[in-house]
């Protein structure tokens, strides 16, 4: 159990997907303007990450042992169809949630965090349960980073910043500072 907890914590804060591994930067830059949308995007990501982890485990165990060179191709095809199915299911069973998620759901396909999760999980040889905890930790970490970033950006909108620095430059500097803060978690697990 403590191993599983270590995997969860490591993926969530120590090796945060966005701030330490640079995965999922597009939503991090794109939808981190408001706390509410950031939170919703994070939750959609957790959902897709967990299902992807299950699928990647299935592919690794039953299919890719016979054809390892198909790894990248099969992962991306499965992720693309998975997002499509999730989108249809959400639309069918909860139209309200579907409207709230809007464009964010299909955009998850091209989020590198999803493919990254599948590949990291394979490279590290995680089993089913380890993979699930890894996905959950990664998703929580993404959500945490998104919400933190959105709260900071809501504040910087009202502060006085030199004109040249406005826009993406400022967002990147803030992200760098956040990333620096997250490095403080590095001693958490080795201790």
């Amino acid at each position: 159990m403590s191993d599983l907890l270590a995997i969860l914590l490591s993926a969530m804060v120590v090796n945060n997907f966005t701030l330490a591994l640079f995965l999922g930067l597009c939503p991090f830059m794109g939808v981190s303007g408001r706390v509410e949308t950031a939170l919703r995007m994070g939750l959609a990501n957790i959902f897709v990450l967990v299902i992807t982890s299950l699928c990647a485990w299935g592919l690794n165990t039953f299919v890719l042992v016979h054809a390892p060179y198909l790894r990248v191709i099969s992962f991306i095809v499965v992720i693309a169809s998975l997002v499509q199915i999730v989108e249809m299911a959400v639309k069918r069973f909860s139209p309200t949630l579907f409207r709230q998620l809007g464009i964010y759901l299909p955009l998850i396909t091209t989020n590198c965090a999803i493919l990254g999760l599948a590949i990291f999980q394979t490279n590290r040889g995680y089993g089913l349960l380890e993979g699930l905890f890894f996905a959950l930790g990664a998703g929580l970490g993404l959500t945490l980073a998104l919400v933190l970033m959105a709260s900071i950006r809501e504040t910087t909108e009202l502060s006085e910043v030199p004109d040249v620095a406005r826009g993406t430059g400022l967002v990147l500097i803030v992200a760098g500072t956040l990333s620096l803060a997250f490095m403080g978690f590095a001693g958490l697990l080795s201790a």
Binding site: A20, N123, I173
Partner: protein
């Protein structure tokens, strides 16, 4: 769509519409693997190869791919070239392959590549598509090289592994760690924006002289 000359197709991606520095595409590899010049160049060349290969094939097949499934078809073509690049790097330069790790496979989801297929290669003849891919790919290499050079020089005091300063140099270790990626790109963008402002101000002050940038 506005007609462009072959020269424009080739040159615009390198600087004026640079994929990373101006269009903000492909940020994930630009931040993740640029801690040394060597890694940056390897990533740039691998992406260049994938982009040229996919643009060529997409442009050749543009009349055969049905519109409804075009994105899936592009992704499959890109994934095929990424697999080739992955295996090629592993066979030729195993050390670099190990350093780049999962990020080679992640070239598949580099939005710059899919963007070029959707916006350009799928609508133009093969020659133009290839010119555009070469230009955009070169622009990507330029941006990665800039990032890698700044981070390696500041973070390790060396360039391509060759020490630049004496033993008294205290390296800024943070620059080769993840926060350094964000900070370097942020500062680079701010510097670029300041430089453009100054040029624009100079151009309006002196009238629209030859130095004024002609924007479409």
């Amino acid at each position: 769509m506005r007609a462009t000359t072959p020269r424009e197709d080739l040159l615009r991606g390198i600087w004026r519409e640079n994929p990373v520095l101006v269009q903000m595409l492909g940020l994930c590899p630009a931040l993740a693997v640029t801690n040394t010049v060597e890694n940056s160049l390897a990533m740039g060349v691998a992406t260049f190869f994938v982009l040229c290969g996919s643009s060529l094939l997409v442009s050749l097949l543009r009349r055969l791919i049905p519109g409804e499934v075009r994105i899936s078809a592009y992704i499959l073509i890109i994934a095929t070239f990424v697999t080739i690049a992955d295996m090629g790097l592993e066979a030729l330069v195993p050390d670099v392959h190990k350093a780049l790790g999962a990020f080679i496979a992640l070239i598949v989801v580099n939005c710059m590549i899919l963007g070029r297929q959707e916006a350009f290669a799928s609508k133009r003849p093969v020659g133009r598509a290839l010119l555009d891919a070469v230009g955009t790919g070169a622009g990507f290499i330029v941006a990665l090289f800039l990032m890698g050079a700044v981070r390696e020089i500041a973070g390790m005091g060396s360039f391509l592994g060759v020490p630049l300063f004496g033993a008294g140099y205290e390296p800024w270790v943070v620059m080769i760690l993840p926060p350094g990626g964000f900070l370097t790109l942020g500062l680079l963008l701010i510097a670029l924006s300041a430089w453009q402002r100054r040029r624009r101000a100079a151009a309006t002050a002196g009238g629209p002289g030859p130095a004024a940038e002609v924007r479409p």
